[in-house]
């Protein structure tokens, strides 16, 4: 797969079809893959990677990149294409300036998942069909890819590649996903338990803003938290408001726009399961207002910008869904 | 307003001030001819604090409890409930227990459902 991706990128530049390529390159460590813009084929061949650690969703970068001169090629995994469509719906991406290459994905891996398997000092990972060959300082070991998957990829909702100009790999289908299981588990708890859970999680937050900065939905020209006119501006965690409610506001702002790509949780240095807040919104919207997948198509009206005359009243929450 | 007036309103849960004096209760009452005071008068007497008079009247026992007045009252005053409350007030006023638990064994009878005795005890014992 890696070679096909790199060859495609190089040929797009060489043929002049695109002036830049948005892809991934290795960071300080092999698993520390970062998004990168390449401008010549040589750069691509030397630096570009497409390995099981290319979790980063590249669609967000197209907001800025598609405003620049010339066409940019981008490689998008299935879940990234949802963000790509959603951002187009919001008029954020100039589609004609983008050449979208869909890359089928078998789930991305996570160094933490490897560590949990007891693999320390990992120096390289190679793909081999359904397995991974892991080289560590101490040994070489073959493990199944499934074991190394990032948690979010276990509940992958779709392998469909939406709105791509060409595909590498096969077109996929929507998958049956148990992605709401964890939300349901929390819902089943008592309020006290839920409170304890979230207090435990959110008090770890260091307000690094990584979740916001990586989120394709959080792509405002200026974030309300950076805007002195919003009344809630605060860059550091100086006032309690932010520490307290930053995550609620953030979740609310992306409600109906979040495609559930899971980048927020992936990048959180404190390992807060932030995606659960967004998923709760998605689950509620599905239940209250009918199924909706942000970025799933170009036409459906986002639930936060629509209504029906017989929507449930807010008292459904106050009184409890079970009428408690 | 006398204690009994409050008590009767409390027992019945009826607010006699809702009455607009239309008389539909009386017009509807099948026991009219046997009554000393008629349903709308019951309501008025409770309203004006004349409950003792009502309690002394035999008229309260002529109400059949058919609830036609309750059904037809446009203002949901429920005169029959008021009358029943006056009757209860009379029982309670008489103070002492009209029935004591130790009487029960004597009353037991194969013909009589035990539940009737229990109900009677509830109704006829003090403070019930």
């Amino acid at each position: 797969m890696q070679s096909r991706v790199i060859e495609k990128a190089a040929s797009l530049l060489e043929s002049g079809a695109c002036t830049r390529v948005l892809g991934w390159k290795a960071g300080a460590f092999f698993y520390d893959v970062t998004p990168a813009v390449f401008t010549c084929a040589q750069e691509v061949r030397e630096q570009m990677v497409f390995n099981p650690f290319c979790g980063a969703n590249l669609s967000k970068y197209l907001i800025a990149e598609s405003r620049k001169e010339g066409r940019i090629a981008v490689f998008l995994k299935p879940c990234d294409t949802f963000s790509f469509v959603q951002l187009q719906k919001e008029h954020r991406i100039a589609r004609d300036k983008v050449w979208a290459v869909g890359v089928q994905c078998r789930g991305m891996c996570d160094i933490d998942s490897l560590k949990e398997l007891g693999l320390k000092g990992v120096t390289a990972v190679e793909e081999a069909e359904d397995d991974l060959r892991v080289t560590t300082l101490y040994q070489e070991k073959t493990i199944s890819r499934k074991e190394a998957l990032s948690p979010r990829c276990h509940t992958c909702k779709s392998r469909k590649l939406l709105d791509c100009d060409e595909l590498i790999g096969d077109q996929g289908q929507d998958l049956p996903s148990s992605r709401f299981a964890q939300v349901e588990a929390l819902e089943a708890m008592t309020p006290e338990e839920r409170f304890a859970f979230w207090r435990g999680e959110l008090s770890k937050c260091i307000r690094c803003n990584a979740c916001r900065n990586v989120c394709p939905a959080c792509s405002c020209e200026k974030c309300v938290f950076d805007n002195p006119n919003s009344g809630v501006q605060n860059k550091a965690a100086a006032s309690s408001f932010e520490e307290n409610l930053f995550h609620i506001i953030r979740a609310f702002h992306v409600a109906g726009r979040c495609t559930d790509c899971g980048e927020c949780t992936r990048v959180c240095p404190q390992h807060i399961p932030l995606h659960l807040l967004n998923r709760k919104f998605i689950k509620d919207m599905n239940e209250f207002y009918g199924p909706y997948q942000a970025g799933g198509d170009f036409d459906a009206k986002p639930p936060m910008l629509a209504f029906t005359l017989d929507d449930p009243e807010a008292s459904i929450i106050t009184n409890g869904r079970d009428g408690q | 307003m006398t204690d009994w007036t409050n008590r009767v309103q409390e027992i019945s849960g009826v607010n006699p001030r809702k009455c607009m004096k239309c008389g539909k209760c009386t017009a509807t009452c099948p026991a009219y001819d046997q009554m000393e005071y008629h349903p709308h008068q019951f309501v008025d007497m409770v309203c004006t604090g004349r409950v003792e008079e009502l309690m002394a009247s035999k008229g309260i026992y002529t109400c059949l409890g058919c609830f036609a007045c309750v059904e037809r009252c446009p203002r949901s005053v429920e005169p029959a409930n008021l009358i029943e409350a006056v009757r209860l007030a009379v029982i309670r006023q008489q103070g002492g227990n009209h029935m004591k638990p130790d009487q029960i064994p004597g009353l037991l009878n194969e013909e009589l459902p035990q539940q009737a005795i229990t109900s009677a005890l509830r109704k006829y014992s003090k403070g019930g």
Binding site: E187, V232, F288, L309, P312 | -
Partner: protein, 146 residues
Amino acid sequence: MQVNETFTPTIVAFCCNWCSYAGADLSGTNRLQYPANVKIIRIPCSCRLNPMFILRAFQRGADGVILCGCHPGDCHYTTGNYYARRRMTLLFSLLDFMGIERERTRVEWVSAAEGAKFAATMNDFTQTITRLGPNRRLEDLRCKVE
């Protein structure tokens, strides 16, 4: 449940200008009492209520926040309260999901003719909040781990 007798909650009521604020005025005109704890903020429409305002109120010490708007279908701006309904439903659900007491927030539709309903709602809501006690959880979410 122990009730703190001395606790007087702070309650912020956001009222839409056309129905609920007028309903609040009507309950005043009719001298219908409700607790002084309730302070009303006038907004043009229930759809003007940004979740940020609610969270800010809690953060600054409010113990309960209630939004009052026109009945669905009666919005002065036709559709505002329908959006407000969705937003508040989802916000309250998320707060509940985070373990915040679900009775701390409420939406009630009060028309300009419902002065009595306004007063009754505020009495009931104040009672509920008094029973719940001071709002701690929203603040506590940021607390250092014990």
